[in-house]
Structure formats: structure tokens, C-alpha cells
Symmetry: C2
Subunit: 356 residues, 2 copies
């Protein structure tokens, strides 16, 4: 997820102010507008640009089109001791996701049980790791599964786009003073954006990135763009994306497979995205102190491992993102020309000036 060479650095408070104003101008209440802006920009701060403000224009477009509800009434159904179903009332996915994870954490803390929350009638929620971080701040292990907002993968052996690149995250609180350890991944070998870049540059792509229209592997990025993205590790990635998608949708009314509504192309219907959020309070199993001590041993051991030639540092999953975040908060958020242009345009249509 790299940015182009002509990246500008936008100060965080200004980007947050701009993004919040965009949401407020589209009838999202103050508190919620800021919450969603914060979680959206959190991805940019961490260098996960694919899930940051690059998505603001499409969220704005969907709010304008009336297919996202700016003032949802998020409701609980089937409320159990360690479970519930949440109807997101078609609110912004980040907001619904944050509330769902808050409910999971609250139930788990109150009732001292692992808690899982199934969410229906939500929208694209950004980076799955954000919600897992909420859990780790509460000394809980977190899980977050969602269904991708566009289908561009086929079942293994197929050539029909029936599956999204369904992302999931799992994470644990880190050693004291260290960031949490978070896996946050989607199930394709490479993001579709990388194939677009290869096509622009006339370069071949590795043969495990994509399928052509006939369902065969191709190294031609132009053919690949007419076809499908390949799952990571072949059949492993297919199984993974299918199971993550089922976990996110089968226990509610959330849409899956051919029913899925395209984030960019369908401006007439609500998405009805599904998520599954889960938490395990560490202190149900061991003391937070013992857990922290063991995490410290692992952290020291991995960081101190013998390195391959030419490698300067070894990181734990989530650590690079945490370092990038600290840097961007200080120096500004790196943003490519293209994205800046889109945001200027998005702001202009709403009478909001993008920070110079």
C-alpha cells in the first residue's frame, strides 16, 4: 500500500478537521462524524492507505445518494450473556463496527465471558485491525471478520466473481509499553491496485496474482484486470476468504455471494454488510501480568532473532503500523497527488476547503 513519490504531508489535525466537516455536512452528527473521521484516518496514519481517506469520496457519494443512513439507530437483537446480534440501521460501517466492538467489550467485562457480536445492515468498515485494537486496549484478545464490499474472487476452480477479498484481524495485547500484536489481512495474494499500476507501466505480473477471463493464471496485467484476483496460497486463500465471509454473514441477514452490492457501482441499494466481532478477556485465563511477561519474552526473542543479510530490523505484526502512526502524527499524513485531488474535489462539491 505505498503512496506515490510526490506525496505531500498533511498535518493530522487539519485532515481530521476536513474529514469531520465532510461527514457533518452530510448530516452525520458531530460526535459520530469525528469518531468515523478518526477511525478512517487511523488507517492513513498507519500507512494502510487503501483503507483511509482514499475511501472518503465514495462514502460521501453514498451518503448523498441516501444509501447510507447518517443518523442510524443501532439496535440489539437476541441479547445474550456473551452474544448479540446488532442491526446497524445502515449506518457508516466504521461507526457500527466501533459500537459493536464496544458492546462486545462491555458484555465480556460485565459478565466475565468470551463475547461475540454478529452485525447486519452495516457498511464498508475500513481496516479490520482497528476494532481489534479496541479490544486489546481493554486487555482482551480481539477478532474481527467482515465481508468485502466488492466481489472479485472466484471459488477455487471457478471463474465467476462470487467472493470478496474478505478481510479479518486477530490480535493480542502487547508486552507492557509495546503496541498490540495484530494480524490484519485480506485473502488475496496482491491488492488489485498493484495490478492497475503494473498495467499502467506495461510490466508483467507474477503468475499467482490473477486469473484471466477464462479462469486461467495470467502474467498480463491487462488480461488480469478483465479477470479476477487470486487467493493467497491458492486453495488455502479460497477456503479462508469463504469461511471469513460466512462467519461475517450467515448468522444474520447480511448479504453474501451474488447478493453482494458493489461499493462503487451500486448507488441505489444499501449494502447490508455483515461483520463478526469477538473478544476474550485475558484475565479469564491468566493474570494480565503473566500474560504481559510472556508477551515480553516473545517480543524480545523475535526482535533479537538472527536477521537475513541486508535486513535492519524484525517487527512484530502491527509494529510497523504503530511506528508509522507515531511518525505521521508528528510529521503529517503522507498523501499522493491523486488522492489529494479527489479530496479537493469531494470537499468542493460540499463547500468545504481542503487544507492547503
Amino acid at each position: 500500500m505505498s503512496q506515490d513519490a510526490n506525496a505531500s504531508l498533511i498535518p493530522y489535525p487539519e485532515l481530521l478537521g476536513f474529514t469531520t466537516k465532510v461527514f457533518k455536512s452530510l448530516k452525520v452528527p458531530d460526535l459520530e462524524a469525528e469518531l468515523v473521521a478518526e477511525s478512517l484516518i487511523d488507517a492513513d496514519l498507519k500507512g494502510i492507505f487503501s483503507h483511509g481517506v482514499v475511501r472518503l469520496p465514495v462514502y460521501a457519494e453514498r451518503l448523498k445518494a441516501g444509501v447510507i443512513n447518517p443518523i442510524p439507530e443501532i439496535k440489539r437483537r437476541r441479547d445474550g450473556l456473551g452474544s448479540c446480534v446488532i442491526d446497524g440501521d445502515n449506518g457508516l460501517g466504521h461507526l457500527v463496527g466501533i459500537r459493536a466492538m464496544e458492546i462486545a467489550i462491555d458484555k465480556a467485562a460485565t459478565n466475565s465471558v468470551p463475547t461475540f457480536v454478529a452485525v447486519e445492515r452495516s457498511n464498508h468498515f475500513g481496516a479490520a485491525g482497528y476494532f481489534v485494537e479496541q479490544a486489546t486496549r481493554a486487555e482482551m484478545i480481539g477478532f474481527s471478520f467482515t465481508v468485502g464490499a466488492i466481489n472479485h474472487m472466484a471459488p477455487w476452480g471457478g471463474r465467476e466473481a462470487l467472493l470478496g477479498n474478505n478481510p479479518f484481524a486477530m490480535g493480542l495485547p502487547g508486552a507492557k509499553g509495546e503496541p498490540p500484536v495484530i494480524l490484519d489481512m485480506a485473502c488475496s495474494v496482491a491488492a488489485r491496485g498493484k495490478i492497475i499500476v503494473a498495467a499502467r507501466n506495461g510490466e508483467a505480473i507474477p503468475d499467482d496474482w490473477a486469473l484471466d477471463e477464462r479462469g486461467h493464471p495470467t502474467t498480463d496485467p491487462v488480461e488480469a484486470l478483465k479477470g479476477l484476483v487470486q487467493p493467497v496460497g491458492g486453495p488455502k486463500g479460497y477456503a479462508l476468504t469463504l469461511v471469513v465471509g460466512l462467519l461475517s454473514t450467515m448468522m444474520t441477514s447480511a448479504l453474501f455471494g451474488s447478493q453482494l452490492r458493489h461499493l462503487y457501482d451500486d448507488m441505489e441499494n444499501e449494502q447490508n454488510s455483515g461483520h463478526l466481532m469477538g473478544v476474550l478477556p485475558v484475565d479469564l485465563f491468566t493474570s494480565n501480568e503473566s500474560f504481559g511477561t510472556r508477551m515480553r519474552e516473545v517480543s524480545d526473542e523475535m526482535h533479537g532473532a538472527e536477521r537475513a543479510d541486508g535486513v535492519d530490523s524484525i517487527y512484530l505484526p502491527g509494529e510497523r503500523e504503530s511506528l508509522a502512526r507515531a511518525r505521521a502524527l508528528k510529521d503529517g499524513v503522507p498523501m499522493g497527488e491523486g488522492v489529494v485531488g479527489d479530496l479537493i474535489e469531494c470537499g468542493r462539491s460540499l463547500g468545504i476547503k481542503f487544507p492547503a
Copy 2:
């Protein structure tokens, strides 16, 4: 995980009888011996030969050496409504895993909460999907994580074998009359066994399978065998194997990283393997009927997807294994010459005749 061309077909009851006798001769009580034999051979029936009776000789060797306890007293610690820690008392991993999942299912059904069970002082438990199937038979979603029994992966950027190829499984009950949908994977691109075969045949391997001793990708299988196995999807697989390993060990005394004890090389110490088992009863979130209906829609849609040229059938994850199982129960379990030889030898040392 293919078998060689000279595979014989061993009738299931005879293989089960032989394996049970081996365990009984090593002081495992009757009921437990049969239970472990069944779960072990279940992998062979499904075509997952890497986790089947090929492992019997090493389990027998560990029992003989006194580093596996044939008559464990499995104990619960920190017993909560939807959680507990289980001390496996150094019993056979299959037995401890089955008991742990039974406890999770029982608690979840009794208390109507998602339940997770952390296991310490266990051993190599075979195929992770087996335990998830226990959950799906009880109309629950299942999770199963474990730490691999040999370290042959490095943290990303490293060249030191500090990580196992940690397997995990996640699965859901299937549509009525269909097998459950189960993801069961380890975190390497390719099993080490495939590299051994390439080395024997003098063939190059793809450059993302393995690292040489210096921590660089290699296509030479001989160099690869001196080095390390590569994670699936590069840094994704590293993050995945680390997080699966942490989930399996950090909440108990189970060993991780450089502390890990080698399944084959260390015949002096108990392994203290860790697992994490989890279940979500479907009916906490929706009726089993609605769930089944939705799973049916997905099954029909995936099976009916347009196929790539030359592909006969599309399968759901776990379906091939289920079909293989039915075939092997009828026709016999396919077993290669090498494995048969090892089993004959293993039986001979205990005075048990392998079925002709």
C-alpha cells in the same frame, strides 16, 4: 499430501484395530486408545496423510520414552461460565484436544455463551479440523488453534527457526445433509515434505517456498532443506503463524519460540504443547433452520459457479476431505510403501502384526 503410486488399500477396521493395539500395548486405556486411533486415522481417511498414521511411530516412541503420559488426569483450572484452562497432564494430544473441545461444547450448551478453552501440557494433536468438526456436529461454529511441534520458520526478515508452521481451523455447520465447511491450514506455502521430494528428484522449487541458510529465497531444494520454510503470502503468513502460536500458548504455561521442544529430536522432555479451542453456538445468533437455509444458498451458488476450462467440479472447503473419507471407508485407506514399512516395524517392536 499425496501418497506414492504403489499405495496399498488397508481396510479401515484392520487399520483401526492395529493402531488401537499399538496404543494399548503402550499402557493407554482401551477407550482412550480407540478414541485416539480413530481421530488419527480420520486424517488418513480424508487424505490428510501428513497428519495420520504416518505419525504413529513417533507417538509410540514418545510413549515408550516416557515423555507422553498414557494415563493422563486431565484437569480444569480457572473454570468460568464460558472459559477454562485445561491441564492436559501430558496426555496424547488427540485425547486432550477431544476432551478440551467436549468441555467447550458442554459449557457453551449449558450456559448459552460462546466458550473458549485454553490448553496447556498437551502434545501434537494431529489435524486441527478434527476438533472443529466436533463443534459443527453440535450445531456450533468451531475454532481450533495450535502451536506446531517443530520450529522451521523464521520471523519475517530473520533466518532463525523460532516459529512453527502453526495450524488452525475454523468451521461452520453445513447445509442440511452436507458436510461442515471447514478451513484447516498451516501457515507455510508448501509442506517441507514437498521440498524433500524435489531434492530427491533433482528438481528446482518455486522461489517462494523456502529460504537458504542466509535467509534468502532459494529455488535449490538442497539449500532449502538446510534453511527454512517460507510463510504463505510472505509477511501475511508470518503474522498469521505468529498470532496463531500466541493464541495457543500465551494464556497458559505452554511453550513457544526457542522453548519449543522438537517432536522427533527431543525424547527427554514432555512437549507442553498449547491449544486454544472455541465454539459459538449458532442458536445464540439465529435459528439453526435459518442458518441451514443460508448455508444451502451458498453451497448451491458455489457448486454452480461458472468453472475455469478443464475443471470438473467446485468444492466447498472440507468437502473433498469428506468425499475422500466416504471412499476410503468403503475401499480401504490408501497407504504408501514407506509408511506401511514404518508401521510394520513399529508393530514388530511391540509384538503386534500389521494387517497383511
